[in-house]
């Protein structure tokens, strides 16, 4: 019969409409600003730098591997030099990531041998400032290991175990205790809502003046 197929189609839409009153699975919309989807643990957005304890104690040693491997070349690193001797110190003086170029590919985090650069989950970064706002300097990129633990708990625990092992091997007595993974393992904290941390509309803090006694 002519029109049969159309009636079939209309039945499908009617069924979907009616089901949405009973079946919560049919209500697919996320009421975004009020309600947010919990991102999967692996989810990634932009890279950030991890520090242990205090922001001075960052893991990055300015080896520039991520800078070389970054496919769109959006990382810029300058090595810190000792104020007295002028010799290079194993920490970055300048560490810039241009978020307006970054393609979120995770290769920097993948190649970093020191587990110093990891992927963030903040995506609400829209801003009106093109030149300053999208260029993240070292101060804006630094985030604590605890923050990393909240975001990627499984991965962070693996990283901590690996780091403490390699530290034990290197210098058993002098090794500093790892950030604090033990307490977190027993009771994982609630997943962060990915809106809280500093947004780029706030002017990025100037880079932390590095100490020369490293």
């Amino acid at each position: 019969m002519l029109g049969n197929g159309m009636i079939q189609g209309l039945l499908v839409t009617a069924r979907n409409l009616l089901r949405s009153y009973f079946d919560p699975e049919c209500l697919t919309t996320i009421q975004y600003p009020e309600e947010r989807r919990t991102l999967p643990e692996n989810s990634r957005c932009f890279p950030f730098l991890v520090y242990d304890g205090t922001p001075d104690n960052l893991r990055c040693v300015a080896c520039k591997i991520c800078e070389q491997e970054c496919p769109p070349q959006c990382i810029y690193i300058e090595v810190e030099r000792d104020a007295k001797t002028g010799k290079p110190v194993r920490r970055p003086r300048v560490f810039d990531i241009d978020y307006s170029v970054c393609m979120q590919c995770q290769i920097c985090a993948e190649v970093c041998p020191f587990d110093a650069i990891k992927m963030d989950q903040i995506y609400e970064l829209s801003g009106t400032d093109r030149f300053g706002g999208m260029l993240m300097n070292k101060g804006a990129l630094l985030k604590s290991n605890e923050y990393y633990h909240q975001m990627h708990p499984t991965e962070a625990n693996e990283v901590d175990a690996r780091l403490s092992q390699s530290k034990k091997k290197a210098s058993p007595p002098a090794a500093k205790p790892a950030a604090a993974p033990i307490t977190l393992q027993s009771a994982p904290p609630p997943r962060p809502t990915p809106s809280a941390p500093p947004s780029p509309s706030v002017p990025p803090t100037p880079p932390v003046p590095p100490k020369s006694d490293v």
Binding site: G5, L11, V12, T13, N42, Q104, C105, I107
Partner: protein, 386 residues
């Protein structure tokens, strides 16, 4: 009597129809900003009334010099760029590139990684074909409903991709000799659930559109692509099979573990828009079958071959690796001079070559049909222009 009008700079001649009524040819430039050209595609159409007499595709509005960038980049760095070729199917793009490199470097892929790759590729095919059906329907005038339904299902698959790889669209998931991150049992359970429910969605989509008389009238006997022309013009993928040619690289090359999986290759008879649409629907059903087998049989073991990605080098030589992507044969021709970056990197993009015969299919049809025919070719401009 109207004289034929020669347009040497455009490369064709306008010859008006010998008709009782004196008609005038109208040249229309459709696109690159046009709602139904699927991106920034442009076609210069010569119309006689509403009938298409000539049609010249004009490409390049999304030419992002992918090949040149890849030649400046190391081997690993190109993988995230392949994601952005056909941005619906980043997983299959990754696979094609990794397959080409693995063939060139002689890397063996472990069993579990092969299974994961097949699962990802078939999920990609599912979401690509369902979205394609949605877009085709919005070209025929059914704005909204089918596309919304398709995107609703696509989100479920994207959630799986995000949980495994970290990103919704640009997965950057496969690596030479395996995949970047193994999937856990929770993920497999979630994937099984999605795959279980997918046939219901395909049924729903079919009930919604396959029998619809308007769709049948708009698609049947429209844009017929004869079998011989399809082969001669190097058409691949569902378009080729809709014309009745039994050529599926999953069956021909048996790359990965496809040789072991049980599935059939759906073929069309007429080669019109409807066949192209329906072959895709049937392919989705076969993909579900493949997924069920792969998710059932996936073995334990390592998920990558332990290839060191940094300073990765490929022995001197050249090679062409290809897979059956959702849009057709996706191939990578790579030339290595032994250094950390490819000397030549060429993408054989299926949508680009499938556009070759767009004019042949459209001539003689109405302009509105030309949009539907273009929709049935299933192009993605990122891949057409690269």
């Amino acid at each position: 009597m109207i004289q034929p009008l020669t347009m040497p700079e455009q490369g064709y001649t306008l010859t008006p129809k010998e008709d009782a009524i004196e008609t005038q040819m109208l040249e229309v430039s459709m696109g690159p900003h046009h709602p139904s050209t699927h991106g920034v595609f442009r076609m210069d159409v010569v119309l006689d009334g509403e009938e298409v007499r000539r049609l010249k595709p004009v490409l390049g509005y999304l030419h992002r010099n992918h090949e040149q960038l890849a030649e400046k980049m190391n081997w690993l760095g190109s993988i995230p760029f392949t994601d952005r070729l056909d941005y619906f199917c980043s997983m299959t793009n990754n696979w094609a590139y990794c397959l080409a490199v693995e063939q060139l470097a002689g890397i063996k892929v472990p069993e579990r990684a092969e299974y994961i790759r097949v699962i990802m590729a078939e999920l990609t095919r599912l979401q690509n074909h369902s979205c394609q059906a949605g877009f085709l329907l919005s070209d025929t005038g059914a704005w909204g409903t089918p596309l919304l339904y398709a995107f609703r299902e696509r989100e479920k698959i994207l959630d799986l991709f995000e949980a495994a790889s970290g990103a919704r669209m640009m997965c950057n998931y496969m690596r030479f000799g395996g995949v970047r991150a193994d999937v856990d049992d929770d993920w497999l359970a979630a994937a099984r659930k999605v795959v279980e429910n997918y046939p219901c969605f395909i049924d729903e989509l079919e009930a919604l559109i396959t029998g619809n008389e308007i769709l049948l009238a708009r698609t049947q006997k429209i844009g017929i692509l004869p079998r011989e022309l399809a082969i001669n013009a190097s058409i691949t993928g569902p378009m080729l099979r809709a014309s009745g040619v039994d050529y599926d690289i999953r069956k021909v090359d048996r790359y990965g573990i496809y040789g072991r999986l049980d599935f059939r290759v759906p073929l069309g008879e007429v080669g019109d828009v409807y066949d192209r649409y329906y072959v895709r629907i049937l392919e989705m059903r076969e993909s579900v079958k493949i997924l069920q087998q792969a998710l059932r049989d996936i073995p334990e073991g390592p998920s990558d071959a332990g290839v060191k990605m940094r300073n990765f080098k490929v022995p001197v030589g050249d090679g062409y690796g290809r897979i059956e992507g959702p849009k057709g044969e996706l191939g990578f021709y790579l030339v290595s001079d032994g250094s950390t970056r490819p000397y030549r990197y060429h993408v054989r993009a299926p949508s680009f070559i499938n556009l070759t015969i767009l004019e042949d299919m459209c001539v003689g049809h109405k302009l509105a049909d030309a949009m539907v025919i273009l929709g049935s070719v299933d192009i993605v401009l990122g891949e057409v222009d690269r």
